[in-house]
Protein backbone atom coordinates (compact mmCIF):
# COMPACT_ATOMS: atom_id res chain seq x y z
CA UNK A 1 0.00 0.00 0.00
CA UNK A 2 1.34 3.43 -0.87
CA UNK A 3 2.41 5.48 2.12
CA UNK A 4 0.41 8.57 3.00
CA UNK A 5 2.15 11.78 1.96
CA UNK A 6 2.30 14.26 4.85
CA UNK A 7 4.13 17.12 3.17
CA UNK A 8 6.13 18.22 0.16
CA UNK A 9 9.04 20.55 0.85
CA UNK A 10 10.59 22.66 -1.90
CA UNK A 11 14.14 23.76 -1.24
CA UNK A 12 17.10 25.16 -3.09
CA UNK A 13 20.41 24.15 -1.57
CA UNK A 14 24.03 24.56 -2.72
CA UNK A 15 25.24 21.19 -4.02
CA UNK A 16 27.35 19.18 -1.58
CA UNK A 17 26.86 21.80 1.13
CA UNK A 18 23.60 20.99 2.93
CA UNK A 19 23.88 21.25 6.73
CA UNK A 20 21.42 20.67 9.59
CA UNK A 21 21.32 24.47 10.02
CA UNK A 22 18.64 26.60 8.28
CA UNK A 23 17.08 26.21 5.81
CA UNK A 24 17.32 22.40 5.84
CA UNK A 25 17.01 22.00 9.62
CA UNK A 26 13.78 23.96 10.16
CA UNK A 27 12.17 22.81 6.90
CA UNK A 28 12.68 19.11 7.62
CA UNK A 29 12.67 19.26 11.41
CA UNK A 30 9.08 20.53 11.49
CA UNK A 31 8.01 17.19 10.00
CA UNK A 32 10.25 15.04 12.20
CA UNK A 33 12.46 13.93 9.31
CA UNK A 34 15.92 12.53 10.09
CA UNK A 35 17.86 15.63 9.05
CA UNK A 36 21.29 13.99 9.20
CA UNK A 37 20.18 11.26 6.81
CA UNK A 38 18.92 13.77 4.26
CA UNK A 39 22.04 15.94 4.55
CA UNK A 40 24.31 12.98 4.04
CA UNK A 41 22.43 11.57 1.05
CA UNK A 42 22.00 14.94 -0.63
CA UNK A 43 25.64 15.96 -0.19
CA UNK A 44 26.84 12.62 -1.45
CA UNK A 45 24.61 12.75 -4.52
CA UNK A 46 25.41 16.38 -5.39
CA UNK A 47 29.12 16.33 -4.65
CA UNK A 48 29.95 16.85 -8.33
CA UNK A 49 27.84 20.01 -8.40
CA UNK A 50 29.64 21.54 -5.41
CA UNK A 51 28.19 24.95 -4.56
CA UNK A 52 25.84 25.02 -7.55
CA UNK A 53 22.26 25.85 -6.54
CA UNK A 54 20.14 22.70 -6.76
CA UNK A 55 16.33 22.67 -6.45
CA UNK A 56 15.16 19.65 -4.48
CA UNK A 57 11.68 18.44 -3.59
CA UNK A 58 11.37 16.31 -0.46
CA UNK A 59 8.29 14.16 0.07
CA UNK A 60 7.62 13.38 3.72
CA UNK A 61 5.37 10.43 4.61
CA UNK A 62 3.17 10.01 7.65
CA UNK A 63 5.72 7.61 9.24
CA UNK A 64 8.33 10.42 8.93
CA UNK A 65 10.28 8.58 6.24
CA UNK A 66 11.09 10.61 3.16
CA UNK A 67 12.10 10.56 -0.50
CA UNK A 68 13.59 13.39 -2.48
CA UNK A 69 14.33 14.31 -6.07
CA UNK A 70 16.78 16.86 -7.39
CA UNK A 71 15.24 18.95 -10.18
CA UNK A 72 16.88 20.56 -13.22
CA UNK A 73 19.12 23.54 -12.33
CA UNK A 74 17.32 26.88 -11.78
CA UNK A 75 16.92 29.27 -14.74
CA UNK A 76 19.57 31.64 -13.34
CA UNK A 77 22.11 28.81 -13.34
CA UNK A 78 21.17 27.69 -16.88
CA UNK A 79 21.49 31.30 -18.09
CA UNK A 80 24.98 31.66 -16.66
CA UNK A 81 25.93 28.39 -18.31
CA UNK A 82 24.48 29.52 -21.64
CA UNK A 83 26.34 32.84 -21.39
CA UNK A 84 29.54 31.06 -20.36
CA UNK A 85 29.98 33.06 -17.15
CA UNK A 86 30.81 31.75 -13.71
CA UNK A 87 28.67 34.19 -11.73
CA UNK A 88 26.21 37.01 -12.18
CA UNK A 89 27.14 40.68 -12.12
CA UNK A 90 27.38 42.38 -8.72
CA UNK A 91 26.01 45.54 -10.40
CA UNK A 92 23.65 44.14 -13.06
CA UNK A 93 22.51 47.59 -14.24
CA UNK A 94 26.01 48.92 -14.76
CA UNK A 95 28.21 45.95 -15.44
CA UNK A 96 27.22 43.34 -18.02
CA UNK A 97 28.97 40.00 -17.68
CA UNK A 98 27.68 38.05 -20.69
CA UNK A 99 25.17 37.57 -23.49
CA UNK A 100 22.56 35.00 -24.50
CA UNK A 101 20.44 34.81 -27.64
CA UNK A 102 16.66 34.85 -27.80
CA UNK A 103 16.82 31.21 -28.94
CA UNK A 104 18.77 30.26 -25.84
CA UNK A 105 16.18 32.05 -23.70
CA UNK A 106 13.40 30.12 -25.44
CA UNK A 107 15.22 26.83 -24.91
CA UNK A 108 15.67 27.53 -21.20
CA UNK A 109 12.04 28.69 -20.94
CA UNK A 110 10.84 25.43 -22.47
CA UNK A 111 13.06 23.38 -20.15
CA UNK A 112 11.83 25.25 -17.10
CA UNK A 113 8.14 25.73 -18.01
CA UNK A 114 6.83 23.23 -15.48
CA UNK A 115 9.13 24.29 -12.64
CA UNK A 116 8.27 27.95 -13.14
CA UNK A 117 4.50 27.37 -13.02
CA UNK A 118 4.32 29.67 -16.05
CA UNK A 119 1.06 29.97 -17.98
CA UNK A 120 2.77 29.68 -21.37
CA UNK A 121 6.16 29.87 -23.06
CA UNK A 122 5.84 33.65 -23.49
CA UNK A 123 5.46 34.20 -19.77
CA UNK A 124 8.30 31.75 -19.07
CA UNK A 125 10.49 33.67 -21.54
CA UNK A 126 9.67 36.98 -19.84
CA UNK A 127 10.76 35.48 -16.54
CA UNK A 128 13.98 34.10 -18.03
CA UNK A 129 14.74 37.45 -19.68
CA UNK A 130 14.12 39.31 -16.41
CA UNK A 131 16.33 36.85 -14.59
CA UNK A 132 19.05 37.40 -17.23
CA UNK A 133 18.88 41.19 -16.88
CA UNK A 134 19.04 40.95 -13.08
CA UNK A 135 22.23 38.89 -13.41
CA UNK A 136 23.84 41.38 -15.82
CA UNK A 137 23.34 39.09 -18.82
CA UNK A 138 22.21 40.80 -22.06
CA UNK A 139 19.52 39.12 -24.18
CA UNK A 140 20.28 39.65 -27.87
CA UNK A 141 17.77 39.68 -30.67
Amino acid sequence: MAKEVKAKIKLQVPGGQATPAPPVGPALGQHGVNIGDFVRRFNDETKQAQGLTIPVIITVYSDRSFDYICKSPPAAVLLKKAAGVAKGSPEPNLEKVGKVTKDQVREIAETKMADLNARDVDQAMRIIEGTARSSGIIVEG
Binding site: K10, P22, P26, G32, N34, T53, P74, P92, N93, R126
Partner: protein
Protein backbone atom coordinates in the same frame (compact mmCIF):
# COMPACT_ATOMS: atom_id res chain seq x y z
CA UNK B 1 11.74 48.80 0.01
CA UNK B 2 12.83 48.83 3.63
CA UNK B 3 13.12 45.52 5.42
CA UNK B 4 11.89 45.28 8.98
CA UNK B 5 15.04 45.83 11.01
CA UNK B 6 16.24 42.62 12.60
CA UNK B 7 17.84 42.66 16.01
CA UNK B 8 21.56 42.21 15.64
CA UNK B 9 23.00 39.32 17.61
CA UNK B 10 24.06 35.75 17.54
CA UNK B 11 20.84 34.19 16.23
CA UNK B 12 20.01 33.10 12.70
CA UNK B 13 17.88 35.56 10.75
CA UNK B 14 14.97 34.52 8.57
CA UNK B 15 14.24 36.55 5.44
CA UNK B 16 10.72 35.97 4.12
CA UNK B 17 9.18 37.47 1.02
CA UNK B 18 5.84 36.96 -0.77
CA UNK B 19 6.54 36.13 -4.43
CA UNK B 20 4.16 35.74 -7.41
CA UNK B 21 3.95 32.02 -8.22
CA UNK B 22 5.75 32.15 -11.55
CA UNK B 23 8.70 33.94 -9.99
CA UNK B 24 9.24 31.76 -6.92
CA UNK B 25 12.02 29.63 -8.38
CA UNK B 26 13.97 32.63 -9.66
CA UNK B 27 13.62 34.54 -6.38
CA UNK B 28 14.65 31.42 -4.45
CA UNK B 29 17.81 31.17 -6.56
CA UNK B 30 18.62 34.85 -6.03
CA UNK B 31 18.19 34.39 -2.27
CA UNK B 32 20.22 31.17 -2.21
CA UNK B 33 23.08 32.72 -4.13
CA UNK B 34 23.04 35.88 -2.00
CA UNK B 35 23.09 34.23 1.43
CA UNK B 36 24.80 30.98 0.43
CA UNK B 37 22.61 28.96 2.79
CA UNK B 38 19.66 27.94 0.62
CA UNK B 39 15.98 28.77 0.39
CA UNK B 40 12.56 27.30 1.01
CA UNK B 41 9.50 27.78 -1.22
CA UNK B 42 6.13 27.44 0.51
CA UNK B 43 4.77 27.63 4.05
CA UNK B 44 6.51 26.42 7.22
CA UNK B 45 5.02 25.47 10.57
CA UNK B 46 5.81 28.85 12.16
CA UNK B 47 3.81 30.86 9.63
CA UNK B 48 0.91 32.56 11.34
CA UNK B 49 -0.34 34.08 8.13
CA UNK B 50 -0.78 32.73 4.62
CA UNK B 51 0.91 34.32 1.65
CA UNK B 52 -1.28 36.85 -0.25
CA UNK B 53 -3.38 35.48 -3.15
CA UNK B 54 -1.33 34.44 -6.15
CA UNK B 55 1.93 34.45 -4.17
CA UNK B 56 3.96 32.00 -2.15
CA UNK B 57 6.37 32.58 0.71
CA UNK B 58 10.00 32.23 -0.25
CA UNK B 59 12.55 32.42 2.52
CA UNK B 60 16.24 32.23 3.10
CA UNK B 61 18.36 32.39 6.23
CA UNK B 62 21.35 34.48 7.23
CA UNK B 63 23.91 32.88 9.52
CA UNK B 64 24.79 34.67 12.75
CA UNK B 65 27.99 36.69 12.84
CA UNK B 66 29.65 39.88 11.79
CA UNK B 67 28.56 39.49 8.16
CA UNK B 68 24.85 39.23 8.95
CA UNK B 69 23.99 42.92 8.52
CA UNK B 70 25.74 43.22 5.16
CA UNK B 71 24.14 39.96 3.99
CA UNK B 72 20.71 41.43 4.77
CA UNK B 73 21.57 44.55 2.79
CA UNK B 74 22.71 42.44 -0.14
CA UNK B 75 19.44 40.49 -0.09
CA UNK B 76 17.43 43.72 -0.19
CA UNK B 77 19.52 45.14 -3.02
CA UNK B 78 19.45 41.96 -5.10
CA UNK B 79 15.65 41.80 -4.83
CA UNK B 80 15.37 45.46 -5.86
CA UNK B 81 17.62 44.74 -8.84
CA UNK B 82 15.47 41.78 -9.79
CA UNK B 83 12.25 43.81 -9.66
CA UNK B 84 13.84 46.58 -11.75
CA UNK B 85 15.27 44.14 -14.29
CA UNK B 86 12.18 41.93 -14.54
CA UNK B 87 10.03 44.59 -16.22
CA UNK B 88 7.04 42.40 -15.36
CA UNK B 89 3.91 43.99 -13.92
CA UNK B 90 3.34 40.83 -11.86
CA UNK B 91 6.63 41.43 -10.06
CA UNK B 92 6.01 45.04 -9.07
CA UNK B 93 7.47 44.75 -5.58
CA UNK B 94 9.34 42.31 -3.35
CA UNK B 95 9.20 43.25 0.30
CA UNK B 96 11.56 41.14 2.42
CA UNK B 97 10.68 40.85 6.11
CA UNK B 98 13.49 39.86 8.44
CA UNK B 99 13.26 38.40 11.92
CA UNK B 100 15.33 36.47 14.42
CA UNK B 101 14.91 32.74 14.36
CA UNK B 102 14.64 31.21 17.82
CA UNK B 103 16.40 27.94 18.57
CA UNK B 104 12.97 26.60 19.50
CA UNK B 105 12.01 26.88 15.83
CA UNK B 106 14.57 24.37 14.67
CA UNK B 107 17.11 23.06 17.17
CA UNK B 108 14.35 21.96 19.52
CA UNK B 109 12.38 20.21 16.78
CA UNK B 110 14.63 17.24 17.29
CA UNK B 111 13.64 16.87 20.89
CA UNK B 112 10.00 16.69 19.93
CA UNK B 113 10.54 13.68 17.74
CA UNK B 114 13.57 12.14 19.40
CA UNK B 115 13.09 8.70 20.91
CA UNK B 116 15.73 6.83 22.87
CA UNK B 117 17.16 3.87 21.03
CA UNK B 118 19.80 1.26 21.47
CA UNK B 119 22.47 -0.33 19.34
CA UNK B 120 22.81 -3.62 21.20
CA UNK B 121 24.34 -2.64 24.60
CA UNK B 122 24.74 1.04 23.80
CA UNK B 123 21.61 2.95 24.83
CA UNK B 124 21.42 6.44 23.38
CA UNK B 125 19.21 8.77 25.39
CA UNK B 126 18.87 12.47 26.12
CA UNK B 127 19.58 13.66 29.69
CA UNK B 128 15.84 14.30 30.23
CA UNK B 129 14.87 10.83 29.05
CA UNK B 130 17.38 8.93 31.14
CA UNK B 131 15.17 8.49 34.23
CA UNK B 132 12.35 7.14 32.07
CA UNK B 133 14.36 4.52 30.15
CA UNK B 134 14.59 0.96 31.44
CA UNK B 135 18.24 -0.05 31.41
CA UNK B 136 20.00 -3.37 31.87
CA UNK B 137 23.00 -3.78 34.16
CA UNK B 138 25.52 -4.10 31.36
CA UNK B 139 24.09 -1.26 29.25
CA UNK B 140 26.42 1.52 28.27
CA UNK B 141 24.46 4.74 28.39
CA UNK B 142 25.41 7.45 25.94
CA UNK B 143 23.88 10.79 26.83
CA UNK B 144 23.18 12.78 23.69
CA UNK B 145 21.77 16.26 23.29
CA UNK B 146 20.26 16.08 19.84
CA UNK B 147 20.37 19.35 18.04
CA UNK B 148 22.64 20.69 15.39
CA UNK B 149 24.83 17.59 15.58
CA UNK B 150 25.49 15.05 12.89
CA UNK B 151 26.14 11.49 13.87
CA UNK B 152 23.46 10.82 16.42
CA UNK B 153 23.96 7.07 16.10
CA UNK B 154 20.74 6.49 14.22
CA UNK B 155 22.28 6.45 10.78
CA UNK B 156 23.02 2.98 9.41
CA UNK B 157 26.72 3.76 9.00
CA UNK B 158 27.10 4.92 12.60
CA UNK B 159 25.16 1.89 13.86
CA UNK B 160 27.46 -0.57 12.14
CA UNK B 161 30.48 1.19 13.67
CA UNK B 162 28.85 1.04 17.11
CA UNK B 163 28.26 -2.70 16.65
CA UNK B 164 31.87 -3.24 15.51
CA UNK B 165 33.14 -1.43 18.61
CA UNK B 166 31.06 -3.70 20.84
CA UNK B 167 32.30 -6.83 19.03
CA UNK B 168 35.97 -5.99 18.74
CA UNK B 169 37.13 -3.23 21.09
CA UNK B 170 39.57 -4.40 23.77
CA UNK B 171 40.02 -2.60 27.09
CA UNK B 172 42.79 -0.03 26.86
CA UNK B 173 42.69 0.19 23.05
CA UNK B 174 43.78 3.47 21.48
CA UNK B 175 41.19 4.68 18.94
CA UNK B 176 41.54 7.03 15.97
CA UNK B 177 38.26 8.50 14.71
CA UNK B 178 38.72 9.99 11.21
CA UNK B 179 35.98 12.52 10.41
CA UNK B 180 34.73 12.43 13.98
CA UNK B 181 31.77 14.81 13.44
CA UNK B 182 29.62 14.93 16.58
CA UNK B 183 32.13 12.67 18.35
CA UNK B 184 29.55 9.95 18.96
CA UNK B 185 31.88 7.09 17.96
CA UNK B 186 34.83 8.34 20.05
CA UNK B 187 32.64 8.89 23.08
CA UNK B 188 31.02 5.47 22.68
CA UNK B 189 34.46 3.86 22.34
CA UNK B 190 35.66 5.59 25.51
CA UNK B 191 32.57 4.44 27.38
CA UNK B 192 33.14 0.90 26.11
CA UNK B 193 36.62 0.93 27.66
CA UNK B 194 39.04 2.52 25.20
CA UNK B 195 42.11 4.03 26.84
CA UNK B 196 42.14 7.06 24.55
CA UNK B 197 40.27 8.38 21.53
CA UNK B 198 41.60 10.92 19.08
CA UNK B 199 39.05 12.42 16.70
CA UNK B 200 39.71 14.81 13.85
CA UNK B 201 37.30 16.52 11.49
CA UNK B 202 37.86 19.07 8.78
CA UNK B 203 34.62 20.88 9.75
CA UNK B 204 35.35 23.40 12.49
CA UNK B 205 31.81 23.13 13.93
CA UNK B 206 32.44 19.47 14.79
CA UNK B 207 34.69 20.18 17.75
CA UNK B 208 32.08 22.49 19.26
CA UNK B 209 29.68 19.54 19.38
CA UNK B 210 32.13 16.72 20.16
CA UNK B 211 33.84 18.26 23.18
CA UNK B 212 30.59 18.95 25.09
CA UNK B 213 29.42 15.42 24.22
CA UNK B 214 32.58 13.93 25.79
CA UNK B 215 32.13 16.13 28.87
CA UNK B 216 28.46 15.22 29.26
CA UNK B 217 29.45 11.56 29.24
CA UNK B 218 32.36 11.97 31.66
CA UNK B 219 35.01 10.80 29.17
CA UNK B 220 36.56 14.14 28.23
CA UNK B 221 39.82 13.06 29.93
CA UNK B 222 40.14 10.24 27.37
CA UNK B 223 38.82 11.97 24.23
CA UNK B 224 40.65 14.61 22.27
CA UNK B 225 39.22 16.34 19.20
CA UNK B 226 40.97 18.59 16.72
CA UNK B 227 40.01 20.44 13.54
CA UNK B 228 42.13 18.85 10.81
CA UNK B 229 41.96 16.79 7.63
CA UNK B 230 43.99 13.77 6.49
CA UNK B 231 46.59 16.08 4.96
CA UNK B 232 47.47 17.99 8.12
CA UNK B 233 46.53 15.67 10.99
CA UNK B 234 49.98 14.06 10.80
CA UNK B 235 51.56 17.27 12.10
CA UNK B 236 49.51 16.86 15.28
CA UNK B 237 49.68 13.07 15.62
CA UNK B 238 53.22 12.20 14.61
CA UNK B 239 56.51 12.78 16.30
CA UNK B 240 59.00 13.48 13.52
CA UNK B 241 59.08 10.70 10.93
CA UNK B 242 57.46 8.08 13.15
CA UNK B 243 53.83 7.39 12.20
CA UNK B 244 51.56 7.06 15.23
CA UNK B 245 49.48 3.89 14.95
CA UNK B 246 46.25 2.97 16.66
CA UNK B 247 44.60 -0.26 17.80
CA UNK B 248 41.34 0.84 16.22
CA UNK B 249 40.90 3.17 13.25
CA UNK B 250 37.35 4.34 12.47
CA UNK B 251 36.42 6.30 9.35
CA UNK B 252 32.72 7.01 8.88
CA UNK B 253 32.93 9.52 6.03
CA UNK B 254 32.09 10.08 2.36
CA UNK B 255 33.11 7.37 -0.07
CA UNK B 256 35.32 9.58 -2.23
CA UNK B 257 37.29 10.68 0.85
CA UNK B 258 37.63 7.01 1.80
CA UNK B 259 38.88 6.22 -1.69
CA UNK B 260 41.33 9.12 -1.79
CA UNK B 261 42.71 8.52 1.71
CA UNK B 262 42.73 4.72 2.00
CA UNK B 263 46.53 4.74 2.41
CA UNK B 264 46.27 7.42 5.14
CA UNK B 265 43.82 5.15 6.96
CA UNK B 266 45.94 2.02 6.42
CA UNK B 267 49.16 3.50 7.80
CA UNK B 268 47.46 4.29 11.11
CA UNK B 269 46.33 0.69 11.80
CA UNK B 270 48.67 -1.02 14.29
CA UNK B 271 49.98 -4.57 13.69
CA UNK B 272 47.30 -6.29 15.73
CA UNK B 273 44.74 -3.52 15.29
CA UNK B 274 41.64 -3.31 13.11
CA UNK B 275 39.72 -0.73 11.13
CA UNK B 276 36.08 0.06 10.35
CA UNK B 277 35.45 2.07 7.21
CA UNK B 278 31.85 3.21 6.87
CA UNK B 279 29.78 5.73 4.97
CA UNK B 280 30.15 4.05 1.59
CA UNK B 281 26.94 3.95 -0.49
CA UNK B 282 26.12 0.50 -1.87
CA UNK B 283 26.67 1.85 -5.37
CA UNK B 284 30.36 2.57 -4.70
CA UNK B 285 31.40 -0.59 -2.88
CA UNK B 286 33.70 -1.69 -5.73
CA UNK B 287 35.68 1.55 -5.78
CA UNK B 288 36.20 1.72 -2.02
CA UNK B 289 37.00 -2.00 -1.85
CA UNK B 290 39.68 -1.60 -4.53
CA UNK B 291 41.20 1.42 -2.72
CA UNK B 292 41.32 -0.42 0.63
CA UNK B 293 42.94 -3.52 -0.91
CA UNK B 294 45.46 -1.40 -2.84
CA UNK B 295 46.32 0.38 0.42
CA UNK B 296 47.25 -2.95 2.00
CA UNK B 297 44.15 -3.49 4.10
CA UNK B 298 42.40 -6.85 4.31
CA UNK B 299 38.60 -6.99 4.23
CA UNK B 300 37.24 -9.44 6.78
CA UNK B 301 33.63 -8.31 6.76
CA UNK B 302 31.51 -6.27 4.39
CA UNK B 303 28.33 -5.28 6.20
CA UNK B 304 25.61 -3.84 3.95
CA UNK B 305 22.57 -2.27 5.59
CA UNK B 306 20.02 -0.49 3.43
CA UNK B 307 21.94 1.69 1.02
CA UNK B 308 25.15 1.77 3.05
CA UNK B 309 28.20 -0.44 3.40
CA UNK B 310 30.79 -0.86 6.17
CA UNK B 311 34.15 -2.59 5.71
CA UNK B 312 35.95 -4.24 8.64
CA UNK B 313 39.44 -5.68 8.54
CA UNK B 314 43.10 -5.43 9.36
CA UNK B 315 46.33 -4.24 7.84
CA UNK B 316 48.23 -6.82 5.77
CA UNK B 317 51.88 -7.13 6.72
Amino acid sequence: MTPDSPEAGDAWLEVRVAVPQAWTETVATVLTETTGTGSVIGPVAEDRDTAPDGTEWVRTYVAPGAEAASACERVTRRLEDLVAAAEDSELAVLHPAMRRLDDSEWVDYWKRFWRPFRVRRVAIVTPEQRPTVALRDDDVVLLLEPGRAFGTGRHATTRTCLLALQDRLQPNDRVLDCGSGSGVLSVAAAKLGARSCFGFDIESYAITVAEPLARANGVDDRCRFVTAGFDDVGAILDDGDATTEFDVVLANIFWDVLEAHATDIAKRVADDGWYAVSGCPKTHIDRVERALLDAGLSIETLDVRGNWATFLGRRER
